[in-house]
């Protein structure tokens, strides 16, 4: 897979952790341009840690992270955003004292041209029309689904070439999850490369073309989504048990 052409994101032998506690034990993962890739795994296996290493929030201990041909593992997070790689964190965190629009505009902080910022804003409102109606409301009063939209929208505001989404469907009602997944599908169709961490295994694999399963900070299984889906359910069930989730047509 990763042999075909140059990968957009290429992570090799990545190690890292918090303080002295090692979480990542030599993870290898790569994402091709234009692909949606799912990163799956149980609780506390290091999915978020891997994304944080890629976005620069934590400094890797070893290995390499290459984005669009450039080593980014020693770069500051804002420089990585400027390079075109954006992470949307788990937990739907916004700036609650600010309006929806201010939250979104902050995502375009690296864009110095006001016209381009406004164009990005229009694009986000196009993906998430409800945010246009709420744009002057403080984000503190939004529902969970709308908060997630603000977070994804903020990630899109700098017009990155790749976005990493950490559990975009977590703690949301099923019909909201459907909407979010459909929008991720649209965003990818419009040319965005996506790496998506998910507990919602089946839905994620329906959306993604390739998947990785992480366990103890290492990639345990990888392969095209249809292989992983059809892989015996035993292997999938140990991912965290969302196999029997509802079927989704996307």
């Amino acid at each position: 897979m990763s042999a075909v052409g140059a990968a957009m994101l290429d992570i090799k032998d990545l190690t890292g952790g918090y303080g002295r506690v090692q979480i990542l034990n030599g993870a290898n993962l790569s994402v091709q341009r234009g692909q949606i890739v799912a990163l799956l795994g149980g609780n506390g296996t290091g999915k978020s840690t891997l994304l944080k290493a890629a976005s620069g929030l934590i400094r890797p201990w070893g290995g390499s992270i290459t984005f669009a041909g450039t080593r980014i593992d020693a770069m500051r997070p804002d420089a990585i955003v400027r390079a075109g790689l954006v992470q949307v964190t788990q937990g739907k965190e916004t700036f609650p004292g600010m309006t929806v629009e201010e939250n979104l505009l902050l995502g375009a902080y690296v864009v110095k041209d006001r016209a381009r910022r406004n164009a990005a804003l229009e694009r986000v409102y196009d993906y998430f029309p409800i945010l246009r109606d709420k744009r002057h409301q403080p984000s503190g009063g939004l529902s969970g689904g709308q908060l997630q939209m603000v977070c994804i929208g903020r990630g899109l505001m700098s017009s990155p070439s790749m976005i990493m989404l950490d559990e975009p469907s977590a703690a949301l009602a099923p019909q909201i999850v459907m909407g979010i997944f459909q929008t991720i599908h649209r965003i990818a169709r419009d040319g965005m490369t996506v790496l998506m961490v998910e507990q919602n295994v089946r839905m994620a694999l329906l959306l993604a073309s390739y998947g990785y399963v992480i366990k103890d900070g290492m990639i345990h299984i990888e392969g095209p989504s249809e292989h992983l889906i059809n892989d015996d359910n035993v292997r999938l069930s140990y991912l965290g048990g969302t196999v029997a989730n509802r079927e989704a047509k996307l």
Binding site: G56, Q87, V88, T89, M98, L106, G107, Y109
Partner: protein
């Protein structure tokens, strides 16, 4: 009878504005860097001395003196943050950690700055004679121009800060950093730079306060100690971390102090601020405008 009150109230408001400017800086630093800056009184003192030096040695007019002192002290603040406080941050990433180390180094910085000021400007209380012109006459009232300058300048600076925080991308970024540094970083904001900038702005406001108080007080090495106490009282009364609260708290402390000195006794001038502080804390422990959202402008 009315004039009897108006006079101390105007004096109280203008002194309160000075407290408010220093308290604003303390609140900004607390919001943006998560530290309580115990050397902020010395920043105010440095601002006053720098202003005095510009005014006398370079013979600058008052307004350029004020502006240049603001800028220079702001830069000094950024230098102090970058070179000293940044070393105490987690992993050098520019995130400041609240903790005993920071409190101790704040006190250390306060002593260091006092000693440097002592070496440069000496122990004497120096006058800062600014010819502001004749007092304004309003009815029976003769309002000294220095008070008008304090109130006017403080209002301009507070409005400017409010507009920057509310209306510009830099201001938005400063508030974002105050609220959540990880998310700010992931939004593409240069977090360490914003922290420096926040610190610089806070120090610049302190310098403004120092240059404004200069003409009605003497400028001396120990002037930072008293103001720190008053500014803390102001920040807590208004709601620690709230920017409008810092201004409101400053004015309240100033007015209560001035009325107390005028009508009860001048001997206990410094006690009134604390009586106010205790009353407010009993009635509203979070302060008058206590907020959960940091750097609420």
């Amino acid at each position: 009878m009315l004039d009897y009150f108006v006079d101390p109230i105007i004096i109280g408001v203008s002194i309160g504005m000075v407290y408010g400017l220093v308290a604003l800086g303390i609140s900004l630093i607390y919001s943006g860097l998560d530290i309580v800056h115990f050397a902020h009184g010395e920043i105010y003192m440095f601002g006053a001395f720098i202003g005095l030096t510009l005014f006398q040695k370079l013979a600058l007019p008052y307004v350029p003196t004020l502006l240049l002192a603001i800028v220079l002290t702001g830069l000094l603040g950024m230098f102090i943050e970058r070179v000293f406080y940044r070393r105490l941050t987690s992993g050098g990433g520019g995130y400041t950690v609240a903790g005993m180390a920071m409190v101790v180094s704040g006190f250390g910085m306060s002593i260091l700055l006092q000693n440097i000021a002592f070496l440069i400007w000496g122990p004497k209380a120096l006058p800062f004679p600014v010819p502001h012109g004749m007092p304004i006459e309003i009815g029976d009232l003769a309002l000294p121009m220095s008070y008008v300058w304090i109130i006017g300048t403080a209002l301009v600076l507070m409005t400017a800060l409010h507009l920057v925080l509310k209306k510009t991308m830099i201001g938005l970024a400063m508030r974002a950093v105050a609220y959540n540094k990880d998310i700010a970083y992931l939004s593409g904001i240069n977090v360490p730079l914003m922290i420096s900038l926040t610190f610089g702005v806070a120090c610049a406001l302190g310098a403004a306060a120092g240059v404004l108080i200069g003409p009605i007080n003497y400028v001396q090495v120990q002037m930072g100690i008293g103001i720190l106490v008053k500014a803390f009282a102001a920040a807590v009364v208004g709601g620690f971390g709230s920017l409008p609260g810092a201004v409101l708290g400053g004015v309240l402390v100033g007015v209560v102090e001035s009325l107390g000195a005028g009508f009860i006794s001048g001997t206990y001038k410094d006690v009134y601020a604390f009586v106010l502080l205790i009353i407010v804390l009993m009635v509203r422990p979070a302060g008058i405008l206590g907020v959960s959202i940091k750097m609420k402008a």
